[in-house]
């Protein structure tokens, strides 16, 4: 990868990685730090990274940085149900907002699978590479994540018809 391609990767993928990190950390500053660290690592190794794989490289690196940060802070990153958002008047939420709220209430690993699938359109094996899972595990996590989100929509937000 050249310097120009590195700069192009900033232009093309920084927003996507930032949104991914925002969904995982729920903190603007944390997401900023993780993104900068990921690109700093990329800059140090840009000559060894193929531009065609740089998007996957960025998501993989930023996700690992997120996991390392969580481990250091001794937080159970797999159970973000502890961070259940406060739900107010459920009837006022449209489906998109409710889905995002439900997404915040599922485990981080399931959320990561859903985000990479729905946000970025990665295939199951690509998601497996990024999250260090096999393809079958990714499918199971995605299936269970949607089941859980449907359950949340029905039980907590009284959304019918899903």
């Amino acid at each position: 990868m050249t310097v120009q391609e590195y700069n192009l990767s900033v232009e093309l993928y920084a927003d996507g990685v930032f949104r991914f990190m925002m969904k995982l950390t729920k903190q603007d500053s944390d997401s900023d730090d993780l993104l900068q660290t990921a690109y700093e690592k990329l800059w140090r190794n840009y000559s060894n990274v193929d531009f065609e794989k740089v998007k996957s490289w960025l998501f993989t690196t930023s996700y690992r940085l997120f996991i390392d940060g969580k481990r250091k802070s001794r937080t159970d990153y797999t159970d973000s149900l502890q961070d259940t958002p406060q739900i107010g008047n459920e009837d006022n939420f449209d489906l998109k907002e409710v889905l995002n709220k439900a997404l915040e209430m599922i485990p981080a690993i399931q959320k990561s699978c859903i985000l990479l699938r729905d946000y970025e359109g990665y295939s199951y094996d690509e998601i497996g590479e990024i999250l260090e899972l096999n393809e079958a595990q990714v499918k199971v996590y995605i299936f269970r994540a949607r089941v859980k989100m449907k359950q949340i929509l029905t039980e907590k937000f009284n959304v019918t018809g899903v």
């Binding site: 310097v3 120009q4 590195y6 700069n7 900033v10 232009e11 920084a14 927003d15 996507g16 990685v17 930032f18 949104r19 925002m22 900023d32 993104l35 900068q36 690109y39 800059w43 140090r44 840009y46 000559s47 489906l95 998109k96 889905l99 995002n100 997404l103 859903i114 985000l115 729905d118 946000y119 199951y124 079958a136 499918k139 199971v140 995605i142 299936f143 269970r144 949607r146 089941v147 989100m149 449907k150 929509l153 018809g161 899903v162």
Partner: protein, 292 residues
């Protein structure tokens, strides 16, 4: 079928990736399980969409200029190169210092030699002394004796320090060929029969300077500059000792000569005129007084 396998199978069913046999299996599962069937029905609705309003605002800070990034190993390489260059510079500087010291000594000798020639010329001495090394040495031992001694002491101190720190071991100099050679030559001079031949032989022997090879001096590490410095130190020391010993023996021999023989020697010998400063008035007068 296990739950994990069912969930993965249903995902593939939704993706349309099953073969006919797997498709039948999936349909039979959905027909027998209402929850799975409801989930598959709502599948298309349970999808999140990215919020494109969320954007990273500091992209420019992440972008880089086209600069050369040095890998970590190359930084070590640069550091090693700098250290090597400094070492070389230090070595050259040190070598120049030693060379300059040697050159200084050589220039002092040259200057003394010139001055000796000029002064002798002004004195209109019939038998003009040659500009041999005996004259040069005589002058050195006379006017610059203290300087040479001091310098010799400094060099000897440095050489001792070098030998100590670098663990250089000069071979036993007492058994070296050069010293025994000098001693033998002095003895041969003293034991020769004719006074004139003695004096001429002495002059020839005083001209003698031991070479590096004769000194038979070796060191564990072949540092050429240090080696030459150490050799120069030993050469100076041996040469000085040889001259001093020779002069003393000449004094003793003169005591045995008849006054007429000494007078003839003084008139005819250019060598003796060079030794005159060293021997007259003390040794010669004493000798004449004794012979009277």
């Amino acid at each position: 079928m296990k739950h994990n396998n069912i969930e993965a199978l249903l995902i593939d069913y939704l993706e349309g990736k099953l073969n006919p046999e797997q498709m039948k299996e999936a349909e039979s599962i959905l027909a027998g399980n209402k929850e799975y069937a409801n989930m598959i029905g709502a599948w298309s609705q349970i999808k999140v969409e990215p919020d494109y309003s969320v954007m990273y605002k500091h992209k420019d800070a992440l972008k880089r200029q086209n600069v050369i990034v040095m890998p970590i190993w190359s930084k070590w390489a640069v550091a090693a190169t700098v250290a090597l260059a400094l070492s070389c510079a230090l070595w050259v500087w040190n070598s120049n210092g030693i060379q300059n010291q040697e050159n200084d000594l050589a220039s002092v000798q040259k200057l003394d030699k010139t001055e000796t020639s000029e002064s002798i010329e002004h004195q209109n001495i019939k038998n003009t002394p040659s500009t041999s090394s005996s004259s040069m040495l005589n002058q050195l031992l006379g006017s610059n004796k203290s300087i040479i001694k001091q310098e010799s002491r400094d060099i000897a101190t440095q050489q001792a320090s070098i030998v100590q720190t670098k663990q250089w071991k000069p071979i036993d100099t007492n058994s070296s060929e050069s010293i025994s050679l000098n001693e033998n030559k002095v003895k041969s001079v003293v034991q020769s029969e004719s006074p004139m031949s003695k004096l001429s032989t002495i002059q020839a022997k005083v001209d003698y300077q031991p070479t590096s090879e004769q000194l038979n001096f070796t060191m564990n590490q072949p540092q050429v500059k240090y080696r030459s410095k150490a050799l120069a130190t030993i050469e100076n020391s041996l040469f000085t000792d040889a001259y001093t010993g020779l002069r003393e023996e000449v004094k003793d021999k003169l005591k045995e000569l008849q006054p007429s023989q000494i007078k003839n020697s003084l008139r005819n010998s250019s060598f003796f005129s060079e030794f005159r400063d060293a021997l007259v008035p003390t040794s010669l007068e004493e000798t004449l007084a004794m012979n009277k």
